[in-house]
């Protein structure tokens, strides 16, 4: 392997940043057209092969796996009459086994092996849905997703890979969502519990990432924390707009947890996550103020003006703080 291939994503991003800098110099008159074109050509030939090719190679693998998994799911949903139930079950099991064997033969240290295991994970869900469809136990119950998540656990631990971890998190979230939807009537509490689940998953991922290099990237925990913030915003807004017996606890909890995520993002110097946390807080606080101005105080038109000013003040404060932090982190 060439030394430059160690991190193709980094190489790809670095070239993009350099091209952006050239464009800004050209845009502001720092480069004439000839120098700009020569500089672009220099950057393009500077690397061992174009960086986009390595990125495209990796992306195409994962895209192919997702498409093949989606094809399997559509095939199961088609409930093809030409095949009897045992042929369908045996056929899908054979494909699943082939994907698992391919993962084992290719090795999980390679991207291709991980992709084959992810395909097997998707097919496992398809197989459970087929069982549910064949014996009329349902193809979208929480038990099915819980069983899928449970059966995926060994592969999750074995793979220790962001792709499989995100699949597991999605399946587990669906199982929890369907379970809570069946058992709970308070929607604000449902969203809060989903948020807590995602926060816990993000915590586990962060901890695992300290030991396992494959999980040390920021993308996975960031996606889980963004999901948690989305759930916290939904829970907080629902608790304010449609207050129920649990809202007195849920709304402050949502606000406090959003602040906690913002503090964590600040600690990790994660500007995108901090911006999402700020927007979650703005949305919940604005809903709270909206209820105060428009319902409790019944201020009418003046209430909307106050609400506009409140949003402007919150966003301006958050933007200024984020800009300040960004500059401090860049120079520190």
């Amino acid at each position: 392997m060439r030394p430059m291939d160690a991190n193709p994503w980094k190489r790809w991003r670095m070239q993009a940043v350099q091209l952006d800098r050239l464009a800004r110099w050209r845009e502001n008159g720092g480069l004439d057209v000839d120098a700009w074109q020569r500089a672009r050509a220099l950057l393009a030939e500077d690397h061992a092969g174009p960086p986009w090719r390595d990125v495209l190679e990796r992306l195409s693998l994962w895209l192919a796996v997702v498409l093949l998994g989606a094809a399997a799911i559509c095939f199961i949903a088609a409930n093809w009459d030409a095949l009897d139930r045992f042929t369908r079950l045996a056929g899908l099991q054979a494909v699943l086994a082939a994907a698992a064997v391919a993962a084992s033969r290719l090795g999980l240290e390679r991207g291709a092996g991980q992709a084959a295991l992810l395909l097997a994970g998707l097919l496992l869900g398809g197989l459970l849905a087929l069982v549910g469809q064949t014996w009329q136990t349902g193809a979208d119950t929480w038990q099915l997703f819980a069983a899928w998540a449970g059966l995926l656990l060994p592969w999750l631990l074995l793979a220790a890979h962001p792709g499989m971890s995100l699949l597991w998190a999605t399946v587990a979230n669906l199982a929890l969502w369907l379970f809570l939807d069946e058992r709970l009537s308070a929607m604000d509490l449902l969203w809060l519990l989903l948020a807590l689940f995602n926060l816990a998953l993000a915590g586990v991922w962060e901890t695992a990432g300290r030991r396992l290099p494959a999980l040390s990237g920021r993308t996975g925990p960031r996606m889980l924390l963004v999901s948690a913030l989305f759930a916290l915003t939904c829970g907080g807004m629902l608790g304010v707009m449609d207050p129920g017996p649990t809202s007195g606890t849920v709304v402050p909890a949502c606000l406090l947890l959003s602040v906690a995520v913002a503090a964590w993002a600040r600690h990790r110097r994660d500007l995108p996550l901090l911006a999402v946390a700020a927007l979650a807080l703005v949305a919940t606080l604005t809903t709270l103020l909206g209820r105060l101005f428009l319902v409790a105080l019944d201020l009418g038109a003046f209430g909307f003006l106050l609400l506009t000013l409140a949003v402007l003040a919150q966003v301006a404060f958050a933007s200024r703080s984020l800009l300040h932090l960004s500059r401090t982190w860049k120079h520190g």
């Binding site: 060439r2 291939d5 790809w12 991003r13 993009a16 940043v17 350099q18 800098r21 050239l22 464009a23 800004r24 110099w25 050209r26 845009e27 008159g29 720092g30 480069l31 700009w36 020569r38 500089a39 220099l42 174009p50 986009w52 090719r53 390595d54 495209l56 190679e57 992306l59 195409s60 693998l61 192919a64 997702v66 498409l67 093949l68 989606a70 094809a71 399997a72 559509c74 095939f75 088609a78 093809w80 500007l271 995108p272 911006a275 700020a278 703005v282 604005t286 038109a301 003046f302 909307f304 506009t308 949003v311 402007l312 966003v315 301006a316 404060f317 933007s319 200024r320 984020l322 800009l323």
Partner: protein, 356 residues
Amino acid sequence: MDEGRASGLWQRLRAAGVVHGDPPLLPEDDGGTPWPVRWLAGAGAWIAVPALLAFMALAFRWKPDDWAALLVSGLLLTGASLPVLRLAAAGEFVRQSATVANLCGLLVTGTAIGWAADDNSRVMALATALLGATLFVLSRSWVHRFLCANAVAACLVWLMLEVGRPAPGTSMALLLMVWLTVAAWLLRLYGDPATWPRRMIEPAAWAFTVVLLVLAWFLPLLDLPGRTQEFASVRGVHLAAASALPVVAVALILPHCRAIGATASAGLLLTALLLAWLWRWVPGAPVALALLLLAVAMGATVLMLVAIAFFAVALAHYYWQLTDSLLAKSLSLAIGGTIILAVHLVLRARRRREGT
């Protein structure tokens, strides 16, 4: 890029004889503002504009007969806030307030013109689009430009929905946004920044992408059950939207044909053509792939994530689409997956061959 890396790049260029002297100083405009801050400001404006519009509607209780008062109010809001948006040194609160007031003024002015023309919604949309385009050019704020471009794109979609010929307006709107989005990103990639400044192209490209994503998500919901019978009339439109993928592939591959190799270039072009043909009745999928290719070519991580989200939306809609049977969908997805897997294997083999 921090200043240290920028000067490092300049030194490399100087050593290669491309440039002379010291690196040029860049102006402190909001072009250098990190994208999460711009995103937050844009989202905040989206929340504040409806609140301000609700205040004005409730406070002044305007009716279509009051179009002159409405027009004056709209022009006052727009005119008073524009100088602040052209000022580089404005504070965050002032800049954010000016953005919200200006957009509110734009919508109020457009409504007033529509009311003046006997409550004609087409005139309203056209006036708002024209004024939005003017404000886009006059402004210096990235976020404001992005929001103005959003307004222009939304008005164009509105016009398409109103006209609704020769194909249903929903499909025509999607087609328009697909080509506007692709053209804007290609211009960002290849256009000379001195002629096509990034500070103008980027907010427009992002605005078109956002509107396209929203359309891709909601348009199938607008299609009423009986609309599938009109499928024949939208075939051409779907084909035109799906052709974005081969066109983008040609635009990206041709300039690098020598570096990629003639066979590999032909193979990639054929793949793009095959995928576009395979998913021609699901135009969301080829368009998402076209955006993904553009993101890879530009090194744009956020656009890549947006394209992946777009692709997921297209697949979800494909699953529930009623024109094809589930078996046919399964087959088309399997063929698509196999073609893309073949591309992966070819690229991997090529990398290994070059590595040895």
